[in-house]
């Protein structure tokens, strides 16, 4: 049961974004520009960063939601499974391996990011902006994971919930609650 009175039919982050709309608006805007705005990283690659951080933070709601979003955007379900198991042996590009490694370091602490891991990202072709965005997306999901779990929000167990949510995140982005969202069942 959530620690505060959020709307019962809105699980995970969705109830929190309705609870305080003046804080939700900039959170949505930041997520939209980082995960859906113009970038040399694909939307699928950016969802992989959200996925690895949420996975390492053990935030079930977020990791399931962003795994589903990445799977839809990538058109397959192998990559998300592989990066959770082992980034270095996964099928992503060398640049993405380096960026996901940085994201996993950010999950631990900002201080865990090393000169070596950043150099490896640059050696594989990552730009300053890609490194910046990787760190900020990883930091943003450290916020989300703590917000969702720190208030003990409800985590749906039905995979169909996350599939529906991921479809809506793909089609509508993060700027507002997707149309028809209220009618999704837990």
């Amino acid at each position: 049961m959530p620690y505060i009175s959020v709307e019962e039919h809105l699980p995970g982050i969705t109830g929190l974004l309705e609870y305080r709309k003046d804080t939700a608006a900039p959170i949505r805007a930041l997520t939209q520009v980082l995960l859906r705005g113009p970038s040399t990283l694909t939307e699928g690659e950016r969802e992989l960063i959200a996925t690895i951080v949420s996975h390492r933070n053990k935030c079930t709601f977020c990791v399931t939601a962003h795994t589903a979003a990445a799977d839809i955007l990538l058109g397959e379900e192998t990559t998300t499974a592989q990066i959770k198991e082992n980034i270095s042996t996964s099928q992503v590009s060398d640049k993405m391996k380096a960026l996901l490694t940085i994201a996993a370091q950010v999950q631990e602490s900002g201080k865990s990011v090393t000169t070596e891991s950043v150099q490896k990202a640059k050696d594989t072709g990552a730009s300053d902006t890609e490194i910046h965005d990787t760190v900020l997306i990883a930091a943003l999901f450290c916020l989300y994971n703590r917000y969702v779990d720190g208030l003990s929000t409800v985590t749906p167990t039905d995979p169909a919930f996350y599939k529906g949510l991921a479809e809506r995140l793909k089609n509508n982005g993060y700027n507002r609650l997707p149309q028809g969202y209220d009618h999704l069942k837990k």
Copy 2:
């Protein structure tokens, strides 16, 4: 040396907020509404939440800046020193002890927040909104601390820098770079 090319004269978060202004805008807006918007928690109390989280994340830039901001707002320097040492024996109210304890749990992980710590906050008079805001401020500073340290930004050592920054945060808030900021020396 920062991992990416930020403006040399802008240390810590300040160079990052200039580096990518379209992500900076919602980060500033979220911070402004949470730390300076209408609230039953004082601005000083909210800066204490920022301080304890930054302290536990060992982010020198952030903890020094928000300690300075809290000190100015509270009009004394004892409370910030005490909460870093031991929340439970500090001179803050029982409600603030409970909220700072929740914030410290969020710093570890969202999952570290317990039913007991939330109940204690409610027993000492904390409202749902105060608990919500405490968790979200703590989560936001987990973002900031990782953003600042994850990109290895410069940390000024001169206390006068942080005093000047804190004065500007008190007078101007978080929505934009305070006037004259560019001319502050590292």
